[in-house]
């Protein structure tokens, strides 16, 4: 096979969050484990034991709490520091197997394997799987195919044991007849990019399986749905339309929002939350060396609260001059917040969004701007970022962010920062 024929691998960690929790805690061997979303709301990850019990993904924790107790299920809050560190380690290991890698999500990466055919792609996939298992104690599945959409599907097959073996499925060597059988057995909803909305519409047209979608008329699908779905059909047929996105484009919007641990009523706490979100957003803004020209603030009460009144408001303020200065952004955000705040409501969430983002070298000075002052702001923010990078996020912050973070989310069952905090390292007993 010539080297220019594209080959992709999708490497996906099995039950990633739950596996990270199990990796460091010997008491969890064989124990069903779930990981909950922010504020311990819904189940966002399940260990193999939980899947075997038939508990669905996304179910609210309070609804299954009793059932969980009966089965001895252990629930964890999301330990993002741990998952991020393990995820970065996985990517580092994967990078040893391909010069081109696209980190698609916290537990999925695409690898460009063009040129590795001589090694035997399935063998190569097994090497990847073995090394991640040995070095990091995490199990991955590998799907290999000539397009990204097919690689994703091959990964699904590897995970569900529909094709391939030992967690590796290589479509490039799977005979066409076998591929037909496999594709005819998988629901069309499993195809990358076919979402919950599209599935019923495709089913109504009689396109229920992957095979049916692959063999459908691409032109018709384009006119009835979108060019995106047409592209998906081509990808299913083996024509690569999507390449690796190895360079993340600078974000055009930066959003920071969190639900509160408990409902918030007073303006003061809301102000602290909004200021703190601004600081995080501004830090990201500076990281990509950009400025924001507009700040949006959004607050809302719980949409699921049957008793109290519902309220939701988002207002955008344009800045006279684009900036990346926490103080200027926070001033604008707090002014907006005071405008939209209604007393007597139980707020559940606040968020900010920075938009009209441009590279800092394209700064457009306003008529009254003071170029010297800009320099001072830049240096102050640089110092702030350096201090926080060295001593931890929030070490140096605006007074408006408050001191106790009383609004922060609830993470009642948070496991230790096994790999990120000296005080949390797992103890080995010499007994």
């Amino acid at each position: 096979m010539p080297a220019h024929v594209p080959v992709f691998a999708l490497v996906d960690c099995n039950n990633f969050y739950a596996s990270c929790e199990k990796l460091f805690d010997p008491k969890l061997a064989g124990v069903p484990v779930v990981v909950l979303s922010n504020n311990d709301g819904c189940v966002v990850a399940r260990s193999a034991e939980v899947k075997a019990l038939g508990l669905p993904m996304g179910v609210p924790w309070f609804k299954i709490r009793e059932q969980a107790r009966q089965h001895g299920i252990v629930a964890f809050s999301s330990n993002y520091a741990l998952y991020a560190d393990m995820s970065n380690r996985v990517v580092e290991v994967l990078a040893q197997f391909s010069p081109d890698i696209e980190v698609y999500s916290i537990d999925e990466s695409f690898l460009d394997l063009a040129g590795f055919e001589a090694t035997g792609l399935a063998d190569y996939g097994r090497q990847i799987r073995d090394r991640v298992q040995q070095w990091l104690g995490l199990t991955v599945c590998v799907g290999i195919a000539p397009t990204k959409t097919l690689a994703k599907l091959a990964n699904h097959c590897a995970k569900k044991n529909l094709a391939g073996n030992h967690g590796v499925c290589d479509f490039t060597t799977l005979p066409a007849a076998d591929q037909d059988v496999v594709f005819a057995a998988i629901d069309v909803s499993e195809v990358w990019g076919v979402g919950r909305k599209l599935t019923p519409r495709l089913h109504a047209m009689g396109i229920t399986t992957v095979k049916a979608l692959r063999d459908a008329d691409a032109e018709t699908l384009r006119s009835r749905f979108s060019v995106v779905l047409e592209r998906t059909v081509h990808e299913l047929r083996g024509t690569s339309c999507l390449s690796l996105e190895d360079i993340t484009p600078d974000k055009q919007q930066i959003i920071c929002s969190r639900s509160f641990g408990e409902r918030i009523h007073d303006l003061e706490n809301l102000q602290e939350a909004v200021s703190s979100h601004i600081s995080r957003a501004a830090e990201k803004l500076r990281l990509q060396d950009s400025l924001a020209g507009a700040v949006t603030v959004c607050i809302r009460t719980s949409p699921f609260n049957p008793t109290g009144p519902c309220y939701q408001k988002a207002v955008t303020a344009t800045l006279p001059e684009a900036t990346a200065d926490n103080r200027v952004l926070a001033r604008s955000a707090l002014r907006t917040l005071r405008q939209i705040y209604r007393p007597g409501l139980a707020y559940q969430k606040a968020g900010v969004m920075l938009s009209d983002i441009r590279p800092s070298r394209l700064q457009q000075a306003s008529l009254f701007s003071d170029p010297g002052g800009n320099e001072g702001s830049k240096r102050l923010m640089h110092t702030l970022d350096c201090i926080n990078a060295r001593w931890g996020r929030g070490t140096l912050r605006l007074a408006a962010e408050g001191v106790d973070y009383g609004w922060q989310m609830k993470r009642g069952n948070l496991s230790p920062g096994y790999t990120t905090e000296w005080a949390d390292l797992p103890v080995a007993k010499a007994r």
Binding site: P26, K429, A430, R431
Partner: protein, 155 residues
């Protein structure tokens, strides 16, 4: 002798005859390639090296390395003391004689791995602690190999 040969021999006999090399590769030199100061140059300038980094001393493969603090006295014979922090590398295949972090029956332990003639055991390095023999029904996971340790002292 032919006349032209005598001319060439004249050139050959000249000891130093330099001609410009028009096909030489251009070599750019920065205008400010080094600080020129009036004082005596540092006699150590040629011996400068990178400062020692304890990370590279203790860690071979950062991506597969994890830290575990020690609690207990059973490994003192191997100079592993209570409060030491172990450097554990998962990329090394555990073999007989390695000191390992292992999960046994819900516990995280540091022990020396014994694996000879079908006998698997975790041995202590302190006579007060008997070895744990891995028999049927005992779950053993060798988590990683201990390749170093470190500790801070109060000062």
């Amino acid at each position: 002798m032919l006349p032209h040969a005598s001319v060439s021999s004249v050139f050959e006999s000249l000891p130093d005859f330099y001609r410009p090399a028009f096909d030489a590769v251009a070599c750019a030199r920065p205008l400010d390639s080094g600080k020129v100061s009036a004082g005596f140059p540092s006699p150590a300038a040629d011996y400068e090296d990178r400062r020692l980094d304890i990370n590279t001393y203790l860690i071979r493969n950062p991506v597969s390395t994890f830290f575990f603090p020690v609690e207990g006295k059973s490994m003192e014979g191997a100079e592993i003391f209570d409060g030491d922090v172990l450097v554990v590398d998962r990329s090394i295949l555990a073999q007989h004689g390695h000191i390992v972090v292992a999960f046994v029956n819900g516990e995280r332990l540091v022990k020396r791995l014994y694996h000879r003639a079908g006998r698997v055991a975790l041995e202590a390095e302190n006579l007060a602690f008997p070895p744990i023999v891995i028999r049927e029904g005992i779950d053993l996971t060798v988590w990683g190999v201990v390749i170093g340790k470190f500790k801070r002292l109060p000062a």
